[in-house]
């Protein structure tokens, strides 16, 4: 990959559900090693934005470029962008590791099988190699003794750490996190945050939707305040959080502090 190319470019993404415009032209870039955190009130379009990046949601217009390669699209008759080449989309998705709010591990597969599924069946690695890598990842997220467990036998925090390992196993160009700690009981949040902080230290490129302001301040190279489908403010965490430049941002930050 060309190091001058951003790892991810999101260009002028528009998205509407029915007649409601949820995203009204969102653009940003993440260079290799960047951590971009997205904050905003409920319903501001954060999840939708993240899901447009890997086309779990089809934007109505705009462009997604991963490591210099754009996802090739055309407009379908409903006005959504659909991928022209499904194989290309699958390749691009494999380079975008997604971590969901609700973990979404596959219930019928063990922890090990969840992690090697992508490497073996998408990247066509050998099972042996994939398992070795999976064990290293499980060790990294502190779950080396859980490879034979099923998701139902794990706590939420453990499931989310497995989900992170599953995404990492694809060695993605960019990691996408959608509120990775908000479905967790409070006492389980920190074990997941520890892993995310470690990834930031390793210079993983990450886009993270979060309500964990302390984490966002600590690890983000860029903080984006999304409001009503637009980037309202962006900058370093200190710029955005310490000198809120508008009432809406002040209101939002105040709400978090009050909570």
């Amino acid at each position: 990959m060309d190091t001058n190319q951003p790892a991810l470019s999101v260009r002028d993404i528009h998205k509407q559900f029915g007649n409601t415009e949820v995203l009204r032209g969102v653009s940003f870039e993440a260079h290799s090693g960047d951590v971009v955190s997205i904050i905003g009130s409920s319903g501001s379009g954060k999840s939708t934005l993240l899901r447009c990046i890997n086309f779990l949601e089809s934007p109505n217009s705009g462009e997604i470029v991963v490591g210099g390669e754009a996802i090739r699209t055309r407009k379908d008759k409903t006005g959504s962008l659909v991928p022209v080449d499904k194989a290309q989309l699958r390749q691009m998705r494999a380079r975008l590791g997604m971590v969901f709010q609700n973990f979404n591990l596959w219930d019928h597969r063990t922890v090990m099988d969840n992690i090697i599924e992508g490497p073996v069946h998408i990247l066509k690695q050998s099972k042996k190699q994939a398992k070795e890598q999976a064990r290293a990842l499980l060790d990294k997220v502190g779950l080396f003794d859980k490879e034979d467990h099923y998701p139902s036998q794990l706590s939420g925090g453990q499931q989310q750490r497995v989900a992170i390992a599953r995404a990492l196993a694809m060695n993605p160009t960019v990691m996408l996190f959608d509120e990775p700690t908000s479905a967790l009981d409070p006492e389980l949040v920190s074990e997941v945050i520890t892993v995310i902080r470690q990834l930031a230290e390793e210079k993983r490129t990450m886009i993270m939707v979060t309500h964990e302001m302390a984490l966002a301040r600590e690890i983000s190279s860029k903080l984006i305040f999304l409001d009503q489908g637009l980037i309202h403010t962006q900058g370093s965490p200190a710029e955005v959080m310490d000198n809120p430049d508008s009432d809406r941002l002040r209101q939002f930050l105040g709400m978090l502090n009050a909570a």
Partner: protein, 232 residues
């Protein structure tokens, strides 16, 4: 009373000899019904009217009419019709003429329709998130179906599918009405020959019961193995 028990016992050898045919009907119709039922369920959920409408109509009609009516229609109706058509010249005709083929067809279609309905519900009940996780990692539609959706759907509805197999087994008794000498058909032959009314029926019921118990005992570990990912 002693005679009564002896008579029952005397029926058993013939009935046990007929039990494999009952099992054959059950297993063949069970397997074909599962495969066809899976395709039907997928067609039903495909969102393509050309696929989903015929699938829905088939399931509706088959589930909405008595099995006995279907058996008669297929055996007498289809059998007669084919007997007068070019199919008669086919080298397959000697096999097709047999009641067994028509009965297998009827039971398979019936089982397919019921399985399809069960599977449709199971496929719909899978959490969207697990499917999205498959898509997000780069799986194709077929991989998502084969590696995630179908295993989860079968896991969800396995108890219903296995109990439907037991119901199928018992409903194969109706095949005796189209000249098949499975358990029930054999019991009726014994009735006619021995002029006993109850003993052959009781013996027949006993054999069904034992087969059901054995089949259930065989399926339980399978069920447990395939759903071991549930809380445990």
């Amino acid at each position: 009373m002693n005679d009564f028990v002896t008579n029952i016992v005397n029926c058993l050898p013939d009935l046990l000899a007929a039990a494999p045919l009952t099992l054959l009907l059950t297993l063949v119709a069970g397997v074909i019904g599962l495969v066809v039922g899976t395709f039907l369920a997928l067609a039903r959920l495909s969102g393509q009217p050309l696929l989903s409408l015929p699938a829905a109509a088939f399931m509706f009609v088959v589930r909405g009419t008595p099995l006995l009516v279907q058996l008669y229609l297929i055996y007498y109706g289809l059998g007669q019709y084919l007997g007068h058509s070019w199919v008669r010249q086919s080298f397959l005709w000697p096999y097709m003429r047999e009641g067994l083929t028509f009965a297998l067809f009827a039971y398979s279609m019936n089982q397919a329709a019921y399985n399809a309905e069960v599977l449709r519900g199971a496929l719909q009940s899978i959490s969207k998130g697990q499917i999205e996780a498959a898509q997000a990692i780069g799986m194709s539609g077929f991989q998502t179906l084969w590696r995630v959706r179908l295993p989860l759907a079968f896991g969800n509805c396995l108890p219903v599918l296995t109990s439907d197999i037991i119901i199928l087994l018992k409903s194969t008794a109706l095949a005796s009405t189209v000249t098949i000498l499975e358990l029930m058909g054999t019991a009726r032959v014994i009735q006619r020959q021995s002029l006993q009314v109850y003993e052959p029926l009781i013996a027949c019921g006993l054999v069904y019961f034992v087969v059901v118990v054995l089949l259930t005992a065989l399926m339980r570990p399978l069920e447990n193995r395939l759903t071991r990912y549930r809380k445990g």
